[in-house]
Each structure stands twice: as C-alpha cells, then as structure tokens.
Symmetry: C2
Subunit: 446 residues, 2 copies
Amino acid sequence: MASSLLTDLYELNMAASYLKRGMGGEATFSLFVRQLPPSRGFLVAAGLEPCLTFLEGFGLLEEDLDYLGRELAFEDDVLDALGALRFHGDVWAVPEGRIVYANEPLLEITAPIAVAQLVEPYLLNQITFQTTIASKAARCVVAAGGRDLVDFSLRRTQGLDAALAVARCTAMVGFVATSNVEAARRYGLRPAGTMAHSYVESFPSEIDAFRTFARDLPDRTTFLVDTYDTLNGVLTAIRVIQELELSGAIGVRLDSGDLLELSRRTRELLDQADLPGVRIFASGGLDEVEVDRLVQAGAPIDAFGVGTRVGVSADAPSLDSAYKLVEYDGLPMVKLSEDKATEPGRKQVFRGEDGDLVGLREEPVAADHEPLLVPVMLGGERTGPHRTLDTSRALFRRDLEGVAEQALRIEDPVAHEPRTSEALERLTQEARTRAFERAGLSDPRI
Amino acid sequence: MASSLLTDLYELNMAASYLKRGMGGEATFSLFVRQLPPSRGFLVAAGLEPCLTFLEGFGLLEEDLDYLGRELAFEDDVLDALGALRFHGDVWAVPEGRIVYANEPLLEITAPIAVAQLVEPYLLNQITFQTTIASKAARCVVAAGGRDLVDFSLRRTQGLDAALAVARCTAMVGFVATSNVEAARRYGLRPAGTMAHSYVESFPSEIDAFRTFARDLPDRTTFLVDTYDTLNGVLTAIRVIQELELSGAIGVRLDSGDLLELSRRTRELLDQADLPGVRIFASGGLDEVEVDRLVQAGAPIDAFGVGTRVGVSADAPSLDSAYKLVEYDGLPMVKLSEDKATEPGRKQVFRGEDGDLVGLREEPVAADHEPLLVPVMLGGERTGPHRTLDTSRALFRRDLEGVAEQALRIEDPVAHEPRTSEALERLTQEARTRAFERAGLSDPRI
C-alpha cells in the first residue's frame, strides 16, 4: 500500500488551511496534457489503474500524523481532521489504452477540496509517466508493422517501479513479451530472454557455450552471435542447430553492428542451411526511429528487443501535464496566467468521424459521437466492468485504426487538435470575466 | 523487500545452465558508464545504498520458485539450486556522492557466476538511474552558485520510487529541501512548500486567500503571486505581510512569465515596501541552463524550485552503462564486439593531481594517488563505516572543488578522460589475444 504522504508539503499546508476554515466544498480537478511533444502525433492513456488503487486505500496513518505533528508542527485539531480524510469522491477517466490528444482531460476527480488536493502529486505522477511510456511504445508498434516487439528495459528504467510499469504499458499497446520476470508474473505477461555475452565468454569457446545452452533449453534457444564476430557466430549457431537437430522457437540475436546488413547476410546463411524457421532477433539501442528505418529498408528481422530508449521515453521523458481546479463549490474556475490559462467546468471528450470535441460533461452526446470519459469510481467505489490489460489492448487496437496517417508518422507527426464546444467556450468566457473581477483587473482579451 | 525475480529471464536461464553444469566459478562483473552524454562534464556516483540492501536480502522465495516451475518449466533440481542461492560475495564500489568519469568502474562484484548474473538488472537499474539524477542535479547546484535549490519533482518523475530516489539524490549534491513529504520523512530531509493556484482560486479574492494562508502559517508563508497577475499579486502579498506584520521565512513565488524581469520588479516593490527580508522564489520548468541564465543575468532570485526537467534528467534521461564480465574462474575476460570492446580484470581508479588513472585493483597505490573504489561488502556482509547522506554530501562537496573548470561549464562541458595504466593495457592485450584464439579469429588490431 502506497504511503499517503507521497504528496507535496504545500498540499498538506493547503489541506490544513481548508480544514481549519471549514472549507469542505466539493472541488473538481481536471488532469490533462497541455501540449504534445513535437515527436508525438497521439498519446495513449495509461496509469489509471494504480491511481484507483491509491484512492481506494487513501488515508494518513498514525505514524504519518505523528511525523506531521513532530516535525512540521501541525496542530492536534488539524491532525485529527487530516487523519479522518478518506477518498469518497468520484472519478471520471479515459480508460487505459485509448488514444487521446492535447487538452483532453484524461481524468477528472470530484471530492472535498482538501482530499482532492492531497492526491494531486500521486495522480499526476502515475498518469503522466505511464501515458509517456505507452505513447512511446505505441510508436514502436506502428514502426514495427506487425513484427514482434519485446520489452528489454528493466536494467535502464528510472527505478524498479518504473520497470514494472514499462512492462505493463508496453504490453498494453501490443508488445508480445518482456524480459522482466517479476513484471511477467505480476501482470500475466510472457517472459522472454536469450543469453548474454558473459555466458558465451564463460566457456572455453563460443561453440561450447552454444551447445551447452541449447542442450539446456532445446526448444527455445536464441543464440547471441556477436560476442566475437557476428557472422562467424551465426555459422556456429547453424552448426549447433544442425548437430542437435533443434526445433521449436529457435533464433539468433544480433546485438551490435550494422543491423540491416548483418540481418540480410544472416538470413542468407540461415536459408542456405535450410533453416527458414530460425528467427532473427535484433536489439541494441533501438527505438521507433531505428525500427522504422530497418523495416522500411526490408531488413529480414522477425523481432525487435527494445530497452533504454523506450523504457525512459528518451526523446520526450515527460509530458506537459496539469491538474487544474475547474470547479469549486458549484462555480466553474479558471486560471488566468498568460502562458497557462485553463478552461473551467467538468468536461467530456466527444469523439466522432470528424475528430474530437472537448465540451462539458453535461452536454448531450450526439448519436454519432462517443464520449471518452467514463465514471470509474463513484463515492469512492470502483464502478463499471473490471478492466484488464486485454481490455486496454483491444481499446488501443481499435483506436489506432482511427488515427490519421499524419499522426502515425514516425518523423514529424502532426497531432489532431480537438475542437472546443460552444457551451465550453461560453463558460470559459464567463469564468474568465468573473476571475478578472475577483482579481480587480480587466480582461485583456476583451 | 524487493523481489529477487526483478531480473531478466535470460539471467535465470543462464543461471540454470551454470548450476546444471556445476559451473560455480567466481566471476567479477564491472559496472561502468561507457560514455558521458554530451551535456555532462562529470558524473556523481549514486544508487549504491539500495543495491547493498538488495544484495543482503537476495534469495528466491517459495512462491518465486513455484512460478518458475509452473510457468517456465524450470526443472525441480534447478529450482532447488536456484532457491539455495544467496549473495555471499564481495562488492567494491565508489561511495555515493563522489565525482566520476567515463570508463571508471562504479561497482565491481565478485561472486559465483550464477548469482552475480542474476543481480545484474537490479544493480544496473539503480546505479544508472540514481547516477543520472545526481549528475543532473549537481549541474543545477553549480549553476545556482550558492542560491538555494528545492526538489519539486514528485508529480513528474517516472514513478513514485523514482520520486523518492530523486529527493535523495538531489539532497546528496546539496539541494536544501524537497516538496516530497514521504521522501523527507524517509531520508530526514527538510520538506518545503508554498501554495497552489487552486488555493488562491478557491477564495473569493486573491487577498482573502493570502490572508487566510498567512494566518494559518504566519512564520513560513510563501505567496504564489501569478494566479491572476504577477506584479499585482506581489502588491497584494506586500499588503498582507504588512497588515499581519509577518516575519520569519516569508517569500513570494514567481511561477510563470519572464522570471528575470519579474524578479527585478518584484525585488524593487519589496524593497520600496521596506521588506528586504522577504525572499523571491522562482519555479516553472527550470533546469540548470535556465538557472544559469538567470544567475548570470543577476536576477535577484533567492531560491529555485526545480521539478520535471531535473526529476527525469530531461536532456539525458539515461546513461550508457554496462555490467561486464571482467574475470571468470581466475581468468581475465574481454568482449571483442567492435563498438563495445571491454577491458579485463578487477580494477581500481587512482585519483591524483594529474587526473584519474584506471588500473588493476592489485596495483600499488602511489603516495599521491587516492583509490576511488573501496570494499563495501565482503562475504555478503556490509563493511566499512556506515555511510549517510551527510557523508555523501561531504564527499561531493570535496570532489567538486577538484573538478576542472571546463567540466563544470553548463554549456558544452568537456569531461576529464581517465588514463589507463600500463598493467591494465598489458592485461587487455593478453586477454584479447586469448579471446580471439577461442573464437578462432585473428585480432584485427595486431
């Protein structure tokens, strides 16, 4: 169970102030991504599941309150009030696996303002990070054009937590396996693995290593052929495959050098040896750009292992996400700051043939529009069908078919920009006017 | 306790093969960074502490073995042997907080090859990630030139685990506080925080919000002044400070707009109001480049809050780290692959006035040289003095004084390149020759 002190100090200070003043009004916060990174044409919503688990278990423990009293001088009455907080609110969200765009709420939470504020960092962290990874991995799936992808990122993600999430998010968009055994166990994924250079080195010769490994895993050996010399390694693998009459899931793995050229020559050697069923697996610093290049050039590679660059989303390791107050105590709210203005009210995203429309939740749904946000928690209880990784995978596959070609492009993708409904525009103008009045300023847009 | 299945499947397959063949020889693996990212002039070693905890607790549980037998068809005798594995080996490492460069081992582990192989992903993950963050944060410290830095990254790190590690690593290099309350509790750090825009918005007017918050935290309020209009917000803050006669740690926080211009005008307003003690706090997408620009331009900013870009090390979110077999069963080992050749043998880094020298561990230490790697675990037991964050902080501060100006530069830093000792060069040539013989190839370098 995650600690409910996984929050920022200011959230506690604000919550304390709200509780002291008896400000128990319901607040709605909206979590969205302001702008997509230049190299993203779409995002894949992810990270909801751990958020719901966190909200279900939310509550400060005795030891948490002791710490706040002892180290941060919170007063006893505030500690009592903080200690009583649980999450009994509502959450509407875009289910994991769905494709989304900038300014579309991924999650909206409605609860008394103190608790809605306290959970902000956790929700932002998980949704931002997992959406980052699922979106990066989805580009690999597009680039691979039906070839297999395997998650190899455990050793280079930003923490072990992150590695588990990466295995889960890559599976969500169609990776066929992960090297991470704990993740495979936890999420019911297929674990996959080959051998390391150190294994080959620990034997007197490459052929000794290959023979030994193949005897131990006769039906699923992938020979790592580049410890000494790649094509020589392929010939050694062929010799062992023939010698031991291996069959089943047998492959060779190329992990360095010019993968296009090496894969072609490896395929030739395998075909000459009458081993058409032996697969070629490629790895080594790959990402969607490199996978795309290899696939476009017709490299005879059957599967790609991707690690570091996908596991940290190297070109765009975070998203410009925000968690903004959009309604408080029945009133729509906005932020006015020049470069970070927000739109008020509880929202819905309506998806149709003509693209996405961001409007108010209360607006009627047109017959040819599908609402993306669904209630996933009401009164603190999960609602709706249980969502598995299979559900998310199916949602992703379906949504992907509807994505415009220019958004799918690996180089210079262009993202769809959702329109705003008239009702939302009207509400935004009203709320801005009121906010300027509060601030004693005039609206520069008028 | 972390699961010992946090490993890659191929490690288990290799371990199974080693155990089956009775290959219990001692292996030494060396963990190092091959090359620094272009925007790094130095690295700060970090991540050792969680590795030692993991090694101490290493061991597959009954449920882990059940999974391996049931889902992965590991045989009973192999499962028994895997289940008996514990870490009783030796670890030499560079203590956390020390400054290091490319090709310098950060950690060397010696243990029977099966277990040394199984722990690879965990060690690589933690050392790579935490060194990445400590190195990025260290550049912020250099850029801030004595001004305070606060970790604001919780909401945007790659997972919650990552957020805790970021708080720890930023503290290691001199950040004065973190917004992350759980991290503050866990590592004994100072928690810090201001207020959010949503707080200001939830009151009828900005001045109501400021008054309420200041009454609740009279001795440590930092007013967030950009919800409506920054300079107007500063005037409102001044009014409340004077009205309530606030003293103590009082500040205003600028979170958007032109921070150089706004900080100058804010300082003028505060000085005109005779409030020289009120501090200016800046935040909003900052990293070392932006902090450096502001400091160089003389912006009157007292403290910087840095979040996303440091918390994910946005410009270089991972390092080109490796965990390579350098000795097995008494024999020095190398990998020959063209682009990833390695050097054999147990190593030491000797630091002197004339820079770093990478040599063999057995080489004598010259009087004017300091060895960087120290034994931190022998026979599976921690050794040496208990190392706290304070120890690491002191090591970092001392090492930083010895870093060349060109490596400290924020733009286009040039990293020191350690030399290689003659003994290591000799051993490398011998091991390469033997490896080429094994592979039945001739060494292209001869």
